[in-house]
Subunit: 227 residues, 2 copies
DNA sequence: CGAGTTTTTGAAGGACATCAACGTCTGTGG
DNA sequence: CCACAGACGTTGATGTCCTTCAAAAACTCG
């Protein structure tokens, strides 16, 4: 049976992808067409409603993708880490906003090249599809979290997921602030803070340095909450 | 600029897709490879953990796709209506369950043909990608609903969405029961019921026939809640 | 009609939000 | 190096929206 694994796409090192002849149309490795861009903390990479001319892959740093309601309520659907692809959409305009959390480097790919890429390079097609399916899978998991989990369970799921993606050890340096975590988990900053305190008291985690670094002291305990 | 529009895929009429030579490998229209299947109310089309040998397109009826937590809590990520594609995944196993709500007909496509299809037919590739992107877009919208909307807003969004997808008029015949709506909107059946009653009292909707048919009496009022 | 299922309604409770104040960190300039 | 201002994070008191528990009403279908 055929497997679709996003790691194919993610494994392409940015440096290699950029090393090729960037402006040679029709070149075999289509990833060479991307261009590197840098952003500072808080910079907008694109906004809801912008025409989507590019899609992106994170090289370094963290990008938050979010939707806003008219009255300012915000839902961060994901934090995009190095290797993640974001900004691919079905319509003419971006349906969400992407902003840099701290210093960020991304590779921007022209969306107008898309049809050509898909036609010329089925392997590229597959990598992109795998990437979309991974995003979809994460989205489904997050819907369970938002629709059916308690604050404690949401936080446990979040910490375990961040640790898995960002760190090889049991320690995570969270790049985002409490407000971002709250808007990702469908909570308020106060509840995020209280839940973390509660976890510390329960011996599940330890906090250091302004609460930005989290040590997962009791992974098993956290996994029970992750369900 | 190139547009990715899921309507290409959805527009292919099931009958036409099935009319072709179903077992001829390499045939131009790869949609001909699907096989029609029927299900009754409550039947499981596939379960979480099943190897994913097929993906599906709804021909008639409604399919709910859901995730379950260990203790029975459920999150229905979407109701799949005629034309919708579901069951495409990145891994070897289905990560969610698909069940028939009432009588359902679907076309099942072999996932193992996938790589071949993508290689042989870039147009098919594009239709599938458009479909994934549409699903992803819906998922993002639903995350905002689950993370940041009130019960009243959730119900308004749900009713308007169902009306848009199922009906040309201002009247919707909901195929699912309250428990399904609750598990889709991240609420309880009691809150669903109370919210509908509240909408009736506010003149936003009218209910008939065991509350299965909803008349959107004040679409403008509902849209305000949809934000 | 009648048993079982689904929906509605009511009363009480709880988890998270809101409002408010205080504590802590960061970075800049004296 | 320390002081200070502003941003960020924590903690407390109170409120509220939704859930939970309970029961009645309405519907379905043999």
């Amino acid at each position: 049976m055929q497997t679709f694994n996003a790691s194919h796409l993610n494994r392409v090192p940015a440096a290699v992808a950029l090393r090729g002849p960037a402006n040679m149309p029709g070149h075999r490795d289509e990833m060479t067409r991307g261009q590197l861009r840098s952003f500072e903390r808080g910079d907008e990479i694109f906004a809801e409603g912008d025409p989507c001319q590019f899609f992106y892959k994170v090289v370094s740093g963290t990008v938050r993708t979010a939707k806003l309601l008219a009255d300012g309520r915000r839902q961060i659907d994901d934090f995009n880490l190095p290797g993640d692809v974001f900004g691919l959409e079905s319509g003419e305009c971006h349906r969400f906003t992407a902003e840099a959390i701290g210093k960020v480097e991304v590779i921007a790919y022209r969306r107008s090249d898309f049809r050509g890429l898909v036609h010329d390079d089925p392997a590229f097609s597959q990598r992109l599809m795998a990437c979309m399916l991974t995003n979809l899978d994460r989205a489904h998991g997050h819907m369970v979290l938002l629709g059916r989990k308690t604050a404690l369970e949401r936080m446990a799921s979040f910490l375990l997921d961040m640790a898995r993606r960002m760190s090889s050890s049991d320690q995570v340096e969270l790049p985002m602030q409490r407000a971002d975590i709250a808007d990702h988990l469908g909570l308020t900053i106060e509840t995020v803070s209280r839940t973390l305190t509660q976890m510390v008291r329960a011996g599940l985690i330890r906090l250091t340095e302004a609460g930005r670094t989290v040590v997962l002291a009791d992974k098993a305990g956290l996994r029970v909450l992750n369900t």
